[in-house]
Symmetry: C2
Subunit: 266 residues, 2 copies
Amino acid sequence: MVAKENLEKKTAKDIRNQIRLGKIRQPTSGMAKGAVQTNLVILPKEQAFDFLLFCQRNPKPCPLLEVTDVGNWEPKRIAPGADIRTDVPKYRIYKDGILEQEVDNLVSIWRDDFVVFLLGCSFTFENALLNAGIPVRHIEQGCNVPMYVTNIQCEPAGIFQGPMVVSMRPIKREKLVKAIQVTSRFPAVHGGPIHIGWPELIGIEDIGKPSFGDPVQIREGEIPVFWACGVTPQAVAMKAKPPLMITHAPGHMFITDLVDEDIASI
Amino acid sequence: MVAKENLEKKTAKDIRNQIRLGKIRQPTSGMAKGAVQTNLVILPKEQAFDFLLFCQRNPKPCPLLEVTDVGNWEPKRIAPGADIRTDVPKYRIYKDGILEQEVDNLVSIWRDDFVVFLLGCSFTFENALLNAGIPVRHIEQGCNVPMYVTNIQCEPAGIFQGPMVVSMRPIKREKLVKAIQVTSRFPAVHGGPIHIGWPELIGIEDIGKPSFGDPVQIREGEIPVFWACGVTPQAVAMKAKPPLMITHAPGHMFITDLVDEDIASI
């Protein structure tokens, strides 16, 4: 395993090349600092229209950064020269909604009818929070972000439907406005929060028991703030049980040539 | 023809009902003041994935406000109860890229494989300019906005490709920053300008001769400012010559229940 500090300074292209050569297989958090990382969903063309429509209707949990042409493995708009079959450290293959296996590359199973969806992930807006002097608890605690299934229904599209999954970060009361402002600048990576304060209003019964990830401490004077989470489209897709779906393994993201400011609104 | 002042004060739903009953057939500019109006493109499912992908890749000229389910004529997210077959004052039917006829409704020609695309139009950000004390020349002159085909190529998707069409509004030098700020708040209706100042840099040879619409006066101390234009997707679709495409007739827009602030970013 390559030392984390060295990977932070490498370019996105360098990291992708090392992944392609099999030299990197670990989670990508912190690699190629400043580069935008994305979630990956691959579906056959048969399901691609419905999924594209689902993302169009639910841009907060499903912010699309690129969708490739049918059968094309190069995300040429956000990572020219990349090969989506080899440049992600670990992939998951789902059949009929059930995780079948994890693989290191997709070369042998690639099909001409595959469509690649790359969706914004929260690393970018967590950088924005940190840059604004707002600490991120799960980073401090060195654990995974807590995620919750809510009672907010996504807008359905074809076979795809289900509740929105949110991530939670406790924010000090005096930093709430700033936290909303800085994350709202990044609509392509979930944008501003979808809810502040009362977990029960969005169907979360026990803030101490997240549906996914790890619980984090909420300290005196802090308010739980909820952002739409990129786990949503995967959860919805699994529920729809498409015959075949491929995703990245959790934390093992695709690293693009975009930098955070490239996707900032004003 | 109903007097314009009366239509300004009506709700979007009232206007749609009057259109449905055949009482309104004129251009919709100024009707149901504050309501968001949209461009209309209808394509059979066969071409819908490519067109949806084209819009995803070119959000400035093609800002999607709603895409209906296949065969569904109700844009239930932005205009519940509306019927897209009857609630637009005038439609155009294109076959193989050629305008075949204009019709008053789509009831008899509706098909179960039609997908409806509703795209933001510039009326909303022109309101924002006016509210910010920035006059809009073609409104002052009572003519159509000047539009130009540029040398900026859209990102192609499947059969859809072609240059971006822009609209131009002359802005006083001291109002330039404000004009950029207020329109950037509305990414769902083309957002901030794509170019300022030098028409030749985007392939416009003669600012006095627009490709569509009418020329407007550019006065001393004013700079031509260019925004992506909703004519782009129609121009591109016509060039792609799909077997069948239906649009609104120019100026005869679909009026939604959204108000301008509903689609503002922060």
